[in-house]
Amino acid sequence: MAAAFIAPAALVIVLVVVVPLARAAWMSLFDITLIRPNDQPFVGLGNYIDQLTSPAFWAAVWRSLFFTVASTSLELLLGLALALLMDQPLRGRWLLRTLIILPWALPTIVNALMWRWIDNAEYGALNALLTQLGLIDGYRIWLSNSDLAMWMVIVADVWKMTPLVAILLLAALQSVDRELVEVAKVDGATAFQAFRLIVLPLLTPVILIVLVLRTMEAFKVFDIIWIMTGGGPANATQTIAIYAYQTAFQGYDFGAGAALGYLIAVIIMALAAIYMRLLGRTGRV
């Protein structure tokens, strides 16, 4: 009975996910370099060992972690602030509640293109704005500066993803019982105390879920970085997905690429396991 309903979906997943995954596992055990198509020796776990002992791999992992922690925490903080703001009885808040979906709706590629243009060193709006406000003396290099490039990508990601966090947290805020807060205030709690002791604990499950979901997304980030910097300058924004892509499709090392894919998948699945446990604990699965 149930099998008939699930069979089509299961078939799709087996053909497009399970079979490729098995094939990738097999590939990752060989030294497959497109430069030598006829000589692809079995190397066992050699590809994995190569990567786990390679400084380039760990540097990419650290960049991914940096991007993930910085963007996720900024999105959470700003998203919470925005949600609280939209929850206030302000005139015109409908405008903010309506327009906030815009950055989220903008395709990632367009978002990346837009910030690439804004951050342009010679004609970009960021330089123009900061110069005209007198905040900087002259035009600066942003994306081609290896100290700043990662931060510029983070700003672009924060701009796009904060609204989603705010929308989710606003929904959670609206489900908080107002009377609890009012009672607390009558009993003498300050607004901050009421927030910290009543609202925040009720928001915690949603905050945790958003945190893990955003962490997983951020850790596999590819497109926004690829368009804005291509992983440069001098690998300053080469996150793990960019590194894997370059290894496979620019270095033509398919064996190592497959192994890298698996290593990334393992990290993401570990995060997913945390996510499932959180869902389980909050009684939502």
């Binding site: 309903f5 996910v17 903010l96 837009m114 929904a171 690829w226 892509y245 398919f254």
Partner: protein, 307 residues
């Protein structure tokens, strides 16, 4: 502040501590200024980047290359929009862009339809039927959705090449169902679980099969959930970049994200044209998002808030 409340302090003693009306007034004003100031700042931060993209898309090139930059262009032109969409003598870029517009629409719509049909069936089974291995299967589907594309891309690239499907829209339709289907299952299962099982039972008493109950009873009541799920699925497919970067080669299958990526390579300094391409690619999702905002927000929150 003299208003610091004493926990459990009796309200009866409050009048003596209450600040003078003028002070209350000042505090309220400061609060309003802060909140409205924050709202204006948030609006500016949300709107300014996109506004600049819009301005860049209609400004003459000379206006964009000025120093100091003039924010309102002296000359406005819609020529680039016309060239990319309906102009009668399109160059290679315009041809590629139009092909990508068609490809993206075809691919995202087909994937949405396939994913909705296949995914809703499975979602119904997960929401309503009890069978061995059920929770294990749910976990397996959710894990699939979270798998990073980079782990699947090499084998998919090889498989599609050996099937001679590389550079066809069909290849992307097949690949995109790998993440759209579990996404639909995830959201629709949550939605169907909010519908009373008594509805199914009533339909079954009236002689409907399970499938009949789903099609005649559950689907009609699920219209809002279906709409939001379909919209989100469409946007997921519209947005995809990494798979398309590997699978597509020519105008036969290139999608909009790839066309824009090509634009950057080919017209790196023609910022107006880049902005125009970006605005056109952004229009369908942005229009959908504003037109169906309520459904989208409901879908987003039921996905990760209610699980």
């Amino acid at each position: 502040m003299t208003t610091a409340p004493v926990p459990g302090g009796a309200p009866a003693t409050a009048p003596a501590r209450r600040p003078r009306p003028a002070a209350v007034h000042v505090r309220r004003l400061a609060r309003a200024v802060f909140l409205y100031g924050a709202m204006i700042l948030a609006l500016a931060f949300i709107l300014a980047p996109f506004a600049w993209l819009l301005i860049s898309s209609v400004a003459e090139p000379v206006d964009l290359l000025q120093r100091p930059l003039r924010w309102i262009p002296a000359h406005v032109t819609f020529e680039r929009f016309a060239n990319l969409t309906v102009g009668t003598s399109p160059d290679d870029s315009a041809l590629g862009f139009r092909a990508a517009l068609v490809n993206s629409t075809v691919i995202a719509s087909t994937v949405t339809v396939v994913g909705m049909v296949v995914g809703t069936l499975a979602a119904y089974a997960f929401a309503r039927l009890r069978f061995p291995g059920r929770s294990w299967l749910i976990l397996a589907f959710m894990a699939t959705y979270m798998l990073p594309p980079i782990a699947l891309i090499l084998p998919l690239y090889q498989i599609m090449s050996s099937l001679h499907l590389r550079d066809t829209p069909l290849a992307l339709i097949i690949i995109y169902s790998s993440f759209v289907t579990p996404f639909v299952i995830w959201i629709m299962r949550g939605y169907i679980e909010t519908i009373s099982p008594e509805l199914d039972d009533a339909a079954r008493v009236d002689g409907c099969s399970r499938l009949g109950a789903l099609v005649r009873v559950i689907l009609p009541v699920s219209a809002p959930g279906l709409a939001s799920t379909a919209l989100l699925a469409f946007l997921l497919a519209w947005d995809e970049f990494l798979y398309a970067l590997i699978i597509t080669q020519t105008n036969a299958s290139k999608t909009l994200p790839i066309a824009i990526n090509d634009f950057i390579g080919r017209h790196g300094v023609d910022f107006g044209l880049l902005a125009t391409g970006g605005v056109i690619a952004a229009l369908p999702p942005v229009i959908l998002a504003f037109a169906f905002q309520r459904y989208i927000v409901a879908g987003l929150t039921s996905g990760s808030v209610k699980g």
